[in-house]
């Protein structure tokens, strides 16, 4: 079997997801032993167009990006969304809830007419996505990303947990964020696990970067959040930080 050819592409994002892939050290070499990279802006100026697998980071936020992702989808046999922006729109979607004209004006000033900026959206709002490597950035130092590539190479479905972060948070023996001496509100009970509860393990709240589980109990969560003192407005803001699209279970 010849090695599958892989291209990395970047849309509206900080490009941190590509950096995670590049900083995987020994795992990166294992990966390069299994695939041939033909397009990877963060790593090489060479640009091949003969890829079978497209790995795409970033959300779509211009008309031009929408044309580009359609072209990529046409070429690629397999398309993987890499990171929260590509998967759920991520932090870019915060703008969607404000006055679009004001937002554009504040960024582009009097040149606003020259920019085709539109509402931010995840990749699968425009084209079919075959696999998602979740997280902001992709979790466990890119290990899950390698597991996904490995599963594709094996021809099997990658294993992605569909239970909340709490499962892995408890496994770590963390004190629940809601039970700390100074409680902090957390999206863990509705967010898909797979990150080994990274943020709560360092004393922070889960901010939902892996997207929601398939059947999040949003009513229960609203009760938990208001019990912790958040208003409905504040709870919505908390969700909208990364999950503005509020799409569940993908």
């Amino acid at each position: 079997m010849s090695k599958p050819k892989v291209g990395f592409f970047s849309f509206t994002s900080c490009e941190g997801c590509q950096l995670v892939v590049l900083s995987m050290a020994d795992k990166l070499f294992d990966l390069l032993g299994a695939v041939e990279v033909v397009n990877f802006r963060e790593a090489s100026s060479y640009k091949g167009e003969d890829y079978d697998v497209a790995i795409v980071e970033g959300a779509l936020s211009t008309v031009h990006e929408i044309e580009e992702i359609r072209a990529i989808r046409q070429q690629a046999k397999i398309l993987i969304a890499l990171g929260a922006c590509a998967h759920i729109g991520g932090i870019n979607c915060i703008r969607n809830f404000d006055n679009q004209f004001e937002i554009k004006k504040s960024v582009y000033g009097d040149k606003v007419a020259n920019f085709d900026s539109i509402l931010a959206q995840p990749i699968d709002a425009v084209v079919k996505v075959d696999y998602y490597s979740r997280g902001c950035p992709p979790n466990r130092d890119g290990e899950e990303f390698v597991e996904i590539v490995t599963a594709i190479l094996q021809g099997k479905k990658p294993y992605i947990p569909n239970f909340p972060v709490c499962v892995q948070c408890k496994m770590k023996g963390n004190v629940c964020t809601f039970h700390k001496e100074r409680p902090i509100t957390c999206l863990g009970p509705v967010t898909r696990a797979g990150c080994s509860a990274h943020c709560p393990s360092y004393g922070n709240a889960c901010i939902g970067c892996r997207g929601l589980v398939e059947e999040p109990n949003l009513n229960a969560h609203q009760e938990t959040l208001s019990g912790a003192g958040l208003t409905v407005e504040e709870s919505l803001k908390f969700y909208r930080m990364l999950n503005g699209m509020m799409e569940v279970g993908k």
Binding site: K27, D30, L31, G33, A34, V146, E147, V149, T150, A151, L153, Q154, Y159, N162, F163, P164, C166, V167, K170, M171, K172, G173, N174, V175, C176, F178, H179, K180, E181, G188, P189, V190, V213, E214, E215, P216, N217, N219, A220, H221, E223, T224
Partner: protein, 345 residues
């Protein structure tokens, strides 16, 4: 059972000595909770309250445990069994957890016996400590039979003032304590006075169980369709917190981690929980317990019905961890039993 009396400072010296040559694990401070962790000094031990976030089951069947490694070469598969076994002394284990470990010893030895649990268990020395007051407001141990350790330890300590009474149930326990003191007739009067007082405190402080303990399986069986399942289930996250923190939840998932080269990999056993969405989902996509209310009933039935019937005792030992962990307060086996008992359908 052999009895000993050991002065508190002598026990400290004993632990200090044990730390030099063994891995000694005990509850230590962990933010506003405690956690079982290896000791570097006896002063770290937090005797009594509060309960650890997760029970000591992690040292017998860890959260994620590599069971075997495999490697393909020339149409052959080379398989190597894996099991990391460490001699360990667990100190300061509460009776609820001792009972849970005693129950796990029975279930893991029943059928399809693997080599990992028994080897880890054999390498473990269990030193329990009597609780003289409930370790948390959630504790329901007295009600569910978890407060009496029933000999499920190597050594068991009871605070009787400036000394500990120590009972050894095994030669391992005797050897351990005889490093500090010689066997001595127990001060039975003092011990029973301490326990009598203790029971009164527990009876006053712990939530009451309304049905009779022995009737729990019968009560559960008769109430498959009780509205409590639906009402509580509605508020369930399916987050599995109650499973993870439960000392008698022992279900696991098996995962293969193939290396990206596709020539080698590792097979691991990972904690799983019956309250999560995919626990009862099978390959066709069918989910046998799709409803959260069904999953809550299943979990409660495991503790108060199926395993109670099978082994003759409640498989909730009343540690109270799930009651604390559950953010929507729906999971307490005792409260569910009470609600069912007082709201006849």
């Amino acid at each position: 059972m052999k009895n000993y009396i050991v002065k508190k400072e002598r026990l400290n010296d004993l632990i200090e000595n044990l730390i030099k040559t063994n891995e000694v694990i005990a509850p230590v401070a962990h933010e506003n909770f405690t956690a079982f962790a290896p000791l570097s000094s006896p002063d770290q031990i937090v005797w009594g309250a509060p309960q650890t976030v997760i029970p000591p089951k992690q040292f017998l069947y860890p959260q994620s445990e590599d069971l075997l490694a495999y490697e393909f070469s020339n149409d052959e598969v080379k398989i190597t069994g894996l099991n990391t076994v460490k001699e360990r002394i667990l100190f300061g284990v509460h009776p609820c957890d001792l009972n849970a470990i005693g129950q796990m010893d029975r279930v893991w030895a029943e059928k399809n016996i693997d080599s990992n649990y028994p080897a880890k268990r054999k390498a473990m020395t269990l030193v329990g400590v009597d609780c003289l007051t409930p370790c948390s407001p959630e504790a329901i141990c007295l009600r569910l039979g978890g407060l009496d350790p029933k000999g499920r330890f190597d050594l068991f300590l009871t605070d009787i003032g400036n000394s500990f009474s120590a009972e050894a149930a095994t030669p391992k326990g005797e050897a351990l304590i005889e490093g500090a003191v010689a066997a001595k007739a127990a001060d039975k009067k003092k011990l029973s006075a301490v326990r009598k007082k203790r029971n009164l405190i527990f009876d006053k402080k712990e939530k009451k169980l309304l049905p009779k303990y022995q009737d729990l399986p019968k009560l559960m069986k008769a109430n498959v369709d009780h509205p409590v399942w639906e009402e509580h289930g509605k508020l369930c996250y399916g987050c599995g917190s109650c499973n993870m923190v439960c000392p008698t939840c022992y279900c696991f998932d098996v995962q293969d981690y193939m290396h990206v080269s596709l020539v080698k990999g590792v097979r691991s056993r990972v904690w799983d929980g019956c309250m999560t969405e995919e626990f009862a989902k099978v390959a066709s996509g069918e989910n046998f317990r799709e409803d959260r209310s069904h999953r809550l009933r299943h979990r409660t039935y495991r503790k108060l019905n199926y395993l109670f019937d099978k082994w003759g005792e409640s498989f909730c030992t009343g540690c109270g961890r799930c009651i604390k962990a559950c953010l929507t307060k729906i999971v307490s086996p005792l409260e569910i039993a009470n609600e069912i008992y007082s709201r006849k359908i």
